[in-house]
């Protein structure tokens, strides 16, 4: 800042230079009461109410990236100029009362030395962008503890405080406020004193919220301020029975036909039994003909599944089918308009991974005060719960303890968390996930662009440990093909998308209305994708990736994969209970697509049989095998053996090339070995479907090599985004060619 006297400098009343009118964002102008208006001797003149404030100076200098002179003006002068540059929208402009409260809070915290100038500056900047309460921002940044904030608020609003840690509630009193009101207002009756109900609240209730409480309670009440995290835990505890019931039984109760709590209906069992009996009878009386028929049916099915998958992949290679959101579009988002976003993270026996998870969530480019992160822990997993508690999380990260009940599955935990979600949108991440920092914003933009019937945005999944070993490389190959080629094409063709296990972003209200996930289905994600489609909703893909940890141990991988195979069979059985109804709901294209997608598991089951037959024939030239393959069947089988297999291998190569994972292309050529593992897992899954249909084979995470990465400020990671710059700036072949030809 210039130390020169400013009286002789031009004033704001002389007008604002057009080039400076929007040099600072509106939020910063209004929050810091500043307005750049002129140039003087190479410096930008900025009108400010407090020209001596160092924070204001830092913020303005950093933003303008030029030498700055702050020139004292009255608030009225500045507001008038700002209003002229940014015509005010009533709901978005801070009221005088709110400003007073904020200033009061700021003074209280700085004078008492509870926050440093740097922390305050960072919080003020976020406030300028989002307009969220400054106290909440400071707490979400970790600059202030929730208890101190509650104390400050209590002082400001002259409200009593109440400590809820270790509090034993009176359930009768606590349940006087309906669950929905308690959850949405973060308010819970904790005691009754002289006819007055004492309600613990996280933040002072607005008059409108107070009216809601009035209506619900119908008796005198008084609010007491409480720690938000403690209150949240208490609300969960009070209503846990209700949450559990809904999480477990809602779908089975309201839409039993859509629930996998019964593996196969009696009708399905009868049909399957009849088919088996018919096959056995035919095999006894016409063994050769039966063998030929079975081989023919299997070959045709194989061909159809392959053609379907190849067609989808080629379609995706030919056109850009996912929603592309540019860095500029993300940057242009007005954070004041961002909705609350819920992130559900189911955890089970993953205590070790929690710090890494929190680090990765912390890197998300989204105002933390608008994040509602729920860490969903099972009640019997004390180690993970203790780990989470020990980390003393900020209030926007909630520990949700899911009571012990059957089935103990990820979807049940998600359903539990969904009931507590406060976000307009919600997303599932697995414990080891590393979403692109701007993924939430990209998803919002994708929702905004999509038609109203799109209620789910699926981000792409891939693996960060793809180079760890052969298995992880194959897995990455497979995911590149699935999420970069197949799913975008399914979405673009209006077919049902079997969702991936994480990074699916939902409109929360619609998801609740649908009953969330099926707790009895072990691939609840795939099932939900189909169910959404049946209800007339659609899923779109967004070009943003979440990196996960690929299973690097064969045993662990087989467990995970057999669960997927079992789940796909479950899902197929559920949705094919009434084929005609399904056909009506999803249309012929969707019907065929669904069946061919789910039949991928059947192909995996058939693979070993065909491989065995081929090998046996080559070695023995056994005529029985030859007879089972009449010429048309032989043609199909030959095409699948040679062209089909290679096409799949090459699509794996293509998926990797498409992503720029060049190191994986040669590994992709060995994919057939991987298919052998997949087939083994598929058979294991099939057997489990009969023996233990609802058993959730837990995948162990955290098996990748420990990593050491340079420290980087969490909030800043997306802003500096060196990878983006490198990516955009590199000279492409095309540019090079243009330069040469020019």
């Amino acid at each position: 800042m210039s130390a020169a006297p400013t009286r002789s400098l031009p004033r704001l009343t002389g007008g604002v230079e057009p080039c400076l009118e929007h040099a600072l964002p509106e939020g910063i102008c209004r929050t810091f009461r500043v307005m750049p208006y002129g140039l003087h001797q190479g410096r930008v003149l900025v009108a400010a109410t407090d020209a001596d404030d160092t924070i204001t100076e830092h913020v303005v200098t950093e933003r303008l990236d030029r030498p700055v002179t702050l020139v004292r003006h009255t608030a009225a002068e500045i507001i008038e100029a700002v209003d002229e540059a940014y015509p005010p929208v009533e709901a978005e402009v801070e009221s005088p009362q709110a400003r007073r409260a904020r200033m009061q809070m700021t003074q209280m915290l700085t004078r008492s030395g509870l926050v440093t100038a740097a922390e305050l500056q960072r919080a003020m900047l976020e406030y300028a962008r989002t307009g969220d309460p400054l106290g909440d921002i400071l707490v979400s940044h970790g600059s202030l503890s929730e208890d101190v904030l509650v104390a400050a608020l209590s002082e400001m609003h002259q409200l009593q405080r109440v400590g809820l840690a270790g509090f034993e509630p009176d359930y009768e009193i606590a349940r006087r406020l309906p669950e929905r009101v308690a959850r949405t207002l973060q308010a819970l009756p904790v005691a009754e004193h002289e006819g007055e109900v004492l309600i613990a609240v996280a933040r002072p209730l607005s008059p409108e919220d107070a009216r809601t409480v009035d209506e619900a309670l119908e008796q005198p009440w008084r609010q007491l301020l409480a720690n938000r995290s403690d209150l949240d835990q208490l609300v969960q505890r009070i209503h846990s029975h209700h949450y559990t019931e809904v999480a477990t039984g809602f779908l089975a109760r309201t839409a039993p036909a859509s629930s996998a709590h019964v593996v196969a209906t009696p009708a399905q069992r009868s049909v399957l039994l009849a088919l088996v009996v018919a096959a056995v009878v035919c095999a006894v009386f016409r063994p050769a003909g039966t063998a030929t028929a079975v081989v023919a049916v299997a070959s045709v099915l194989y061909l159809l599944v392959s053609v379907h998958r190849i067609r989808l992949s080629l379609q995706a290679l030919g056109s850009r089918l996912e929603t592309d959101v540019s860095v500029a579009e993300v940057a242009a988002l007005d954070e004041r308009t961002l909705p609350v976003y819920t992130i559900l993270v189911p955890l089970y026996r993953e205590a070790d991974i929690v710090p890494r998870l929190l680090r990765d969530l912390d890197a998300l480019d989204y105002p933390r005060s608008r994040l509602d992160i729920k860490l969903l822990c099972e009640a019997d997993d004390l180690e993970t719960i203790d780990q989470v508690v020990a980390l003393a999380l900020p209030p926007h990260i909630h520990l949700v303890v899911v009571p012990d009940s059957q089935p103990k599955t990820k979807p049940k935990a998600c359903n539990y968390g969904l009931q507590l979600a406060t976000g307009t949108f919600c997303v599932i991440y697995d414990a080891e996930d590393r979403p692109d920092p701007d993924q939430l914003k990209k998803a919002l933009i994708a929702f905004d662009r999509a038609t109203d019937d799109v209620v789910c945005i699926q981000a792409k999944l891939n693996y960060y440990n793809q180079d760890q070993n052969l298995l992880t490389s194959w897995f990455a190959n497979e995911y590149s093909m699935q999420f970069d080629l197949v799913l975008p094409a399914l979405g673009a063709s209006g077919s049902p998308i079997p969702l991936g296990g994480s990074s699916n972003h939902f409109k929360t209200a619609v998801l609740r209305e649908l009953g969330g996930w099926d707790p009895f289905n072990v691939t609840e994600d795939a099932d939900l994708g189909i169910r959404l489609h049946r209800e007339g909703y659609r899923t779109a893909m967004v070009d943003s990736t979440t990196l996960e940890e690929a299973n690097s141990h064969v045993g662990n991988w087989v467990r995970q994969r057999s669960r997927w195979s079992k789940g796909h069979l479950q899902t197929w059985l559920v949705h094919m209970r009434h084929p005609a109804q399904l056909l009506r709901q999803v249309g012929p294209r969707g019907f065929v697509s669904f069946n061919l997608t789910m039949a991928t598991t059947l192909v995996l089951l058939m693979n070993p049989l065909f491989w065995t037959l081929t090998t046996a024939y080559l070695l023995t030239r056994w005529s029985v095998i030859q007879d089972a393959f009449p010429t048309p069947v032989l043609c199909i089988a030959s095409v699948m053996l040679v062209v089909g297999n290679f096409t799949f291998v090459y699509l794996n190569v293509a998926g990797s090339l498409q992503r720029g994972d060049f190191g994986l292309t040669r590994i992709a050529l060995l994919s057939p070995i991987y298919w052998g593992l997949m087939s083994y897992a598929a058979w294991r899954g099939l057997l489990q479907l009969f023996t233990n249909p609802f058993y959730w084979e837990k995948t162990e995470h955290g098996l990748d090599e420990p990593e050491v990465r340079p420290a980087l400020d969490g909030r800043g990671s997306h802003e500096s985004a060196p990878v983006h710059q490198t990516y955009e700036a590199h000279e492409t072949l095309g540019a090079y060619a243009s330069r040469v030809s020019a």
């Binding site: 680090r359 912390d362 890197a363 980390l391 080559l618 290679f646 420290a711 072949l733 095309g734 090079y736």
Partner: protein
């Protein structure tokens, strides 16, 4: 208070940072114009089909090799038993398999109406690819159309597009691969590497000559990436992506040869293009002269385009121009190299100028793009050069030393008269009247499946023209052993033998030479013409093993029509 360490998080784009090519996004490219492509495709496909129908069906200008491949395709679809073995290993597999869909209607195949359609479609596809290349080279529509007309009406192109030959079956894919590599170079979009990879692989299975362009393309891609500073992983990944399909195709085809013939390289040794007659013994001077003749008469624009590409590549550091120059040079040298190494017994055939012509046009297109402001001028020059070479090449087709049906094509086009019975420059007879007569006779008088024993390697044209391969017991139907057994004792399984009068090439004629001349008392001819003899087989005899006896089987009624071509029913 959060305890999370503020640590940098790996973003998805990180793996892609620093790479030379565009991955994970779609760079700007020319917009698709399906209407324009479709119009060009249909226009040329119809043009070549109509010309081809006139030449093949009306004027009888068709190569025997073409009839052989169509017969094999017919055997795959309509034989009894139908079998993929008909494809054989002496042709690249797709040279036959690509015809199979067109042989689905036997009567249409027998009429030869589909013969020109196949090559016409592939040639039209080639021209569409060239048009797309020109769009990427920013050549304006009128000039594009002029270039397409100049290329499309080149007599070599017309001939090979209209006569059902196999050249365009593989050249279409090679040109598509070159087009994809050009698009890759312009846009840096890695998807085009995959397109080129698949095109090269399919092209290889349709014509082994594709391997040469594939090899040059592979080196070029690696070199371009290295020059732009790509790291080893990117170069390796990209070249693996480009090479994998072709390597796989060759490996599978070799494995197939191993399983079926116990020789993995049978497809090389049995390839019908491989020299067997010693014609390859030519001096370097002969080869050089032959090469010069080929370029001067078949693709004279190469004389301008090649130096221009080399100059642009070396003097102006235009990498793609240099690479296309190398590719054109290789195209020019390949016929001589093939002759010198014995990979062909048809040295310096005019046919060899077709790839040179096409690569020259691709080179000319790139020169136009590189000319930037003079783009239209260069492209117009290309079109004019192409038009100017039309009469020159057409004239050369009549007199060029080494050729197939070029002279017959020339004469048919200039006179509009049937070339039946005309002699090609190499002395072979043009036309298929004799085959047609025999086929007609068989169609009229034989209807029992597998009742005619024949060596399809010599009588394929007759089989094709009947449209009923199931009537014949040929070498493909069961196995060579089964066929040999039937040839030794034909009475049991068959009623007739169809013999070629050329006993040198017909295994059955060699076995029964007396029957060919009508001197075998047991095997009595029922229908003969200049090239074929159909003899009846007595039911109870074992020809060559038992004493002669009178024919007892009810043979077909004798045709008493007097035939001017020499066909003699008995």
């Amino acid at each position: 208070m959060t305890a999370t360490p503020p640590t940098r998080v790996v973003a998805d784009l990180e793996p892609a940072s620093g790479v030379v090519q565009a991955v994970g996004r779609r760079p700007a490219d020319v917009s698709r114009r399906r209407g324009e492509s479709l119009t060009i495709f249909v226009a040329f496909a119809v043009l070549y089909s109509v010309i081809g129908h006139w030449l093949v069906v009306d004027l009888h200008v068709v190569a025997t090799e073409t009839l052989d491949r169509f017969n094999r395709a017919l055997m795959v679809t309509a034989d009894d038993p139908s079998t993929l073995a008909a494809v054989g290993v002496d042709y690249p597999p797709l040279a036959v398999l690509l015809l199979v869909p067109f042989a689905a209607v036997p009567s249409l195949t027998a009429s030869l109406a589909v013969v020109p359609v196949v090559s016409a479609l592939f040639a039209a596809f080639t021209l569409v690819t060239v048009n797309t290349m020109m769009r990427r080279a920013l050549v304006v529509l009128p000039v594009r159309l002029a270039v397409l007309a100049g290329l499309g009406l080149n007599p070599l192109v017309v001939m090979y597009a209209a006569l059902g030959s196999r050249d365009f079956l593989w050249l279409a894919f090679v040109v598509a691969a070159l087009g994809a590599l050009l698009a890759w170079y312009v846009t840096a979009d890695i998807r085009f590497v995959m397109v080129a990879a698949v095109a090269f692989a399919v092209g290889t299975l349709a014509g082994y000559g594709s391997l040469v362009w594939f090899a040059v393309g592979l080196v070029m891609v690696a070199a371009v990436l290295a020059r732009l500073g790509a790291d080893g992983t990117e170069i390796e990944g990209t070249t693996v992506g480009l090479a994998a399909p072709t390597v796989f195709a060759v490996a599978v085809w070799s494995a197939f040869n191993l399983v079926v013939h116990a020789e993995p390289w049978r497809w090389v040794s049995d390839n019908r293009d491989v020299a067997a007659t010693g014609l390859a013994d030519q001096s370097p001077v002969d080869l050089a002269r032959g090469t010069a003749d080929l370029v001067v008469h078949g693709a004279p624009i190469a004389l301008v385009v090649l130096p221009a590409l080399l100059v642009a590549g070396l003097a102006r550091r235009n990498g793609f121009a240099l690479w296309l120059g190398v590719m054109l040079l290789v195209s020019i040298l390949v016929p001589a190299l093939a002759t010198a190494t014995g990979l062909t017994d048809s040295p310096m055939q005019l046919e060899g100028a077709l790839p040179i012509l096409l690569v020259s046009v691709v080179g000319g297109v790139w020169l136009a793009r590189s000319a930037v402001q003079d783009n239209t001028l260069v492209a117009t020059g290309l079109a004019l050069a192409l038009f100017a070479s039309i009469p020159w090449t057409f004239s050369a087709m009549q007199t060029f030393r080494h050729q197939g049906l070029e002279r017959a094509f020339h004469d048919a086009v200039t006179s509009g008269e049937s070339q039946e019975g005309a002699r090609a420059v190499d002395g072979s007879l043009v036309g298929y009247d004799a085959e047609q007569q025999m086929a007609d006779y068989i169609s009229d008088h034989v209807d029992a499946t597998g009742s005619i024993l024949t060596d399809d390697a010599s009588t394929y044209a007759v089989i094709l023209l009947t449209g009923a391969p199931d009537l014949f017991l040929d070498r493909v139907d069961r196995s060579d052993e089964a066929w040999t057994a039937a040839a030794q004792a034909p009475a049991d399984p068959v009623h007739y033998l169809l013999l070629s009068t050329d006993t040198a090439r017909d295994e059955l004629s060699r076995r029964y030479p007396a029957a060919v001349t009508g001197d075998d008392p047991d095997l009595r001819p029922v229908f003969t013409n200049q090239r074929y003899v159909l003899v009846s087989v007595p039911d109870d005899d074992r020809a060559g093993e038992q004493p002669p006896s009178p024919l007892t089987s009810p043979g077909p009624p004798a045709d008493t029509t007097d035939d001017p071509s020499g066909a003699t029913p008995r």
